[in-house]
């Protein structure tokens, strides 16, 4: 990451948790700060009504000068005047991705790269064309492409779970899982992490056993189990499913272990937050530690009391809300990272967290 360049992912725990509202808030703030912005989405944002519930959604009103990467067919439904700079050879269900600049402010519908490798391409394009801060609007609960960002803002709220205490617990577990340190460079240098498979090593960094890249079935752990007593470290470059996570907790590793995971999404996507918490707690209790080869820090959380309530009698949804201040307080208390209500709070607090990353002026 070079000076004055940052790519930020806005992820959500579910639909309607406030990703777009957070994005709008940041766009407006950083435009006023005269920071060159890039905007894209890993889903479909800016539509007037929700694709599933049919309820109205906040629309993306994008200021002049912002660089936007979106699918070709979204240009027709955007009211902002966009001048197309380049079309990328990346297909989406709504046509190829186009890179454009907002010439006249207005509403923009964004449907950008929905795969990790494509977000990488888009990020490089936006940096090449002068973006200092790239905002990647998320989609539903999707996280995988966000590994290409420098950090996450997590939007959560009643739409994820109507029980605010449960929202708070999960926020705590997610913050905990994201905010482990990066792996030290000596392990990287020694080539322990280059095999592309899951490995365990013993003293002197000697690889003792290897298995598949992702740990999808408990049977794939057998080679590791056989050398558990000699192991001092484990590296998994792929997914770890719930059954494998539970099995890993049962393996009697003899000594204090260093767990190297590729990035937080590899355990966050397949597992419930409570199971991840249980796993990480067990590691900590054993005196072991976790590091990420590709860290993805969770910088802040935004909370949204809104949720779409299903009405059985009319077979549709209506807007509903949980108690706003209680939700924020519970999440802030549990997560131990900055928490904002982007509707009620101004954007200054959230922006200061981002600025504190040190990459922007």
């Amino acid at each position: 990451m070079s000076h004055r360049q940052l790519i930020l992912g806005i992820s959500g725990t579910a639909k309607n948790t406030g990703k777009t509202t957070t994005t709008i808030s940041l766009l407006n703030y950083f435009t006023l700060q005269r920071i060159n912005l890039g905007l894209t989405s890993i889903g479909y944002d800016g539509e007037s009504v929700d694709n599933v519930t049919g309820l109205p959604k906040p629309r993306l009103f994008v200021p002049r000068g912002v660089l936007v990467v979106t699918a070709a067919r979204c240009l027709e439904v955007s009211s902002a005047k966009l001048s197309v700079i380049e079309t990328l050879p990346i297909p989406t269900p709504l046509g190829k991705l186009v890179c454009a600049k907002v010439e006249r402010e207005g509403l923009v519908v964004t449907a950008g790269p929905n795969q990790t490798r494509h977000l990488r391409t888009v990020r490089e394009w936006l940096y090449r064309h002068g973006a200092e801060l790239i905002i990647v609007d998320g989609a539903l609960n999707r996280m995988a492409p966000m590994v290409e960002t420098d950090g996450l803002i997590l939007a959560t709220g009643a739409s994820y779970k109507p029980d605010s205490q449960q929202v708070a617990f999960d926020a705590q577990y997610l913050a905990e899982a994201c905010n482990y340190l990066p792996v030290t460079q000596d392990l990287v240098r020694e080539g322990l992490l280059n095999a592309g498979t899951t490995v365990v090593w013993g003293k002197n960094h000697k690889i003792l056993a290897a298995t598949t890249q992702s740990l999808l079935e408990p049977g794939e752990l057998e080679p590791l189990e056989r050398v558990a007593q000699q192991a001092v470290g484990l590296y998994c470059p792929g997914l770890i499913t719930p059954s494998c996570l539970r099995r890993l907790m049962e393996i009697p590793f003899a000594s204090v272990m260093l767990w190297v995971l590729q990035d937080p999404t590899k355990i966050l996507i397949p597992n419930e937050p409570s199971l991840i918490h249980e796993f990480l707690l067990k590691i900590r209790e054993a005196g072991s530690s976790v590091v990420y080869r590709n860290p993805l820090p969770l910088l802040a959380i935004t909370v949204n009391p809104f949720y779409p309530q299903y009405r059985y009698e009319t077979n549709n949804y209506e807007p509903a809300y949980v108690e706003r201040s209680e939700l924020k307080e519970l999440v802030a208390k549990a997560a131990k990272i900055p928490v904002f209500d982007v509707v009620q709070d101004d954007c200054l607090g959230l922006a200061s967290v981002i600025l504190a990353c040190g990459c922007l002026k």
Binding site: Y44, A71, P93, N114, Q115, R117, L140, S214, G238
Partner: protein
């Protein structure tokens, strides 16, 4: 195309029918498929994909709240497991749209109406070129193949004699309507008019045979009090609307059956709104549209010009209005302009022919007995109108709406057959248009107390027993059975259309669900109601036939006998026009009154 390996994944508990259809298409295209059992846990599915060497994954899933998150997590798992880079992922289901597929992270989304070919194209990395349905649908001249041969010799002989009688009577007679039609035919060049060239000679001659309102328009620019010209902004708006609509227009077939063709009426008074209605009719599968003009137009000698909107029912017949409507029509849409009832009958046929209509409507008896035009005048005018219809290659229907006045079907049919026989004699292609609805005759006589089927069927059977000619029931079918309840109206219209289909007629005209009760212009949703209902009913019954009942045969025979008797009376009268005045083809007791409009305007040439 290289052989592809595709995994088909029904993430639903049961809904894998769509995937099975796609699998058949893929296997027919030479690809290898693996169909997973329904409703496996997402993690297990990921394991299956990871273990396989598939190139493409196709998922089907019905959407509900919470399901979007499951699908998004599925895509995320593929991505995080490193599978996404080597596997294309598509999703199909009832609520799936490309926008939602993008949001969920899929490469493609297949919603309702997706063809198997579309899914195969996705697998093969080909751009799917949607079949251009507009080029598939063609205009049909449904009069082709009819011999107009009579099966009932007695009726044929009488019709021949009446035709002779009419032509002899009309010899050497003309009217202002016929003169205007001749002037329109000779002096009004549609190409020059379209190029805004002046038509001074035409206008000079034309106004000599027009009444004051029309003269005032051509000489002083004064419009009819209930009309106005469109503003420049409105015209620009219309042109933009038409261009945008035509660009995205698809013209589906309403049913797989070759007939009956389905016609929709329009005539809101506003040609802009009419064009909107026409585009909706076309988009929902109507094969043709019928232009309705205002009732005062039938009582006025002469036609106006200009792009005019009218504040009441019926869209004014002007060259500009018709020309705008013509330009908005799809190539496959049949277009009928009614000319049947008033003082502009022959001229309307000429104008319709020059602007490019496909069909017109002419009937001496209905126009004389149910629409207010003098019988002598309309007889002279109808002969000219038929000759112009022949010249411009337009078949015409012979409507029997005098039934709506209370004239019994056999009398109305006798009148229809007289105009049709005259049409054939003059080289035309008449289409029989019996009323197919709950007419006053049956309300009084009780023929539809039990069902609407048998008497309507008997009417068609009677006509088929008399002559081999095209039949186009109307207008609209089911009239007077519909209420302000749109569901009831649509259902009734659909059932009448199906009955007509089972009786193997050539076309039907259908109304919108709110046609009789809109209290103003009909609405687009109710137009769609009936088109959808008719399409669904025709699909449901397909080529199912209807059994002929004893009661149908009894009523058929009564109608045929009645027609024969009426024709015998006309022959006995020795004067068709006098027979109209005297009530032979519909009397005052029946509810038919010889019209007065245009009385004493027939003159010697």
């Amino acid at each position: 195309m290289n052989k592809q390996k595709i995994m088909l994944i029904p993430l639903d508990p049961v809904h894998d029918v769509g995937l099975k259809m796609v699998r058949r298409g893929l296997e027919e295209a030479g690809h290898e498929t693996i169909l997973l059992p329904p409703d496996l846990p997402v993690e297990e599915v990921i394991q299956e994909i990871a273990k396989s060497s598939v190139n493409t994954v196709l998922v089907s899933r019905t959407l509900g709240y919470g399901v979007a998150e499951i699908l998004a997590r599925f895509v995320d798992l593929l991505d995080a497991a490193g599978i996404r880079e080597r596997v294309k992922v598509g999703i199909g289901g009832m609520a799936i749209r490309p926008e939602l597929a993008a949001e969920l992270g899929f490469d493609a989304g297949f919603g309702p109406g997706t063809t198997v070919e579309e899914a195969v194209a996705f697998v093969e990395d080909r751009e799917y070129v949607e079949a251009k349905q507009r080029t598939i649908k063609h205009k049909t001249d449904f009069t082709i193949g009819y011999s107009y041969a009579y099966r009932h010799q007695g009726i044929k002989e009488k019709l021949d004699r009446i035709t002779d009688m009419i032509l002899t009577w009309a010899q050497g007679k003309t009217s202002p309507g016929v003169r205007r039609a001749e002037i329109r035919d000779e002096l009004w060049d549609v190409h020059r008019w379209r190029d805004y060239e002046p038509m001074a000679k035409f206008e000079r001659e034309y106004v000599k045979h027009s009444d004051e309102m029309v003269r005032n328009f051509y000489e002083n620019g004064v419009l009819h009090s209930k009309t106005r010209r469109f503003s420049k902004e409105e015209v620009v708006g219309l042109e933009d609307y038409v261009a945008r609509t035509i660009e995205t227009m698809k013209v589906p077939q309403l049913s797989a059956r070759a007939k009956p063709l389905v016609f929709n009426q329009y005539g809101t008074g506003c040609p802009f709104m009419d064009i909107g209605h026409i585009k909706v009719s076309e988009a929902w599968g109507a094969d043709g549209v019928v232009h309705f003009d205002p009732s005062w137009g039938a009582r006025t000698e002469g036609l106006l010009d200009g792009f005019l909107t009218h504040e009441e029912d019926g869209t004014v017949l002007t060259p500009a209005n018709l020309n705008r409507i013509k330009r908005a029509l799809e190539e496959s849409t049949l277009w009928q302009i009614r000319a049947h009832r008033g003082l502009n009958t022959p001229e309307t046929v000429v104008l319709a022919g020059k602007i490019g209509a496909d069909l017109t409507k002419i009937n001496i008896c209905y126009g004389s007995l149910g629409a207010g035009t003098d019988p002598a005048r309309l007889t002279v005018d109808a002969i000219a109108a038929i000759r112009f219809a022949v010249k411009y290659g337009m078949p015409f229907d012979v409507v029997t709406n005098e039934e709506l006045c209370g004239v019994p079907a056999f009398k109305a049919f006798a009148g229809m057959l007289i105009t049709a026989a005259l049409g054939v004699r003059l080289g035309g292609k008449p289409i029989l248009q019996p009323l197919f609805c709950k007419s006053p005759e049956v309300m009084v006589g009780g023929q539809m107390t039990d069902n609407y089927v048998e008497f309507n069927a008997a009417k068609i059977m009677a006509l088929k027993e008399i002559v081999e000619a095209p039949i186009w029931p109307g207008a609209p079918v089911g009239f007077l059975t519909q209420t302000e309840d749109r569901v009831q109206s649509s259902a009734s219209t659909a059932m009448h259309a199906v009955l007509a289909s089972m009786l193997e007629v050539d076309a039907v005209t259908i109304a919108s669900a709110d046609e009789a009760y809109s209290g103003g212009p009909i609405t687009v949703p109710s137009k769609i109601d009936t088109l959808r209902a008719v399409a669904e009913a025709l699909r449901f019954y397909g080529h199912t036939t209807i059994a002929q009942t004893k009661q149908m045969e009894i009523w058929r025979d009564e109608i045929v006998t009645g027609i024969d008797k009426v024709l015998t009376d006309v022959v006995a009268k020795g004067d068709f026009v006098q027979a109209l005045y005297d009530g032979v083809l519909g009397s005052r007791e029946d509810g038919a009154y010889p019209g007065r409009s245009g009385r004493d305007t027939v003159v010697k040439q």
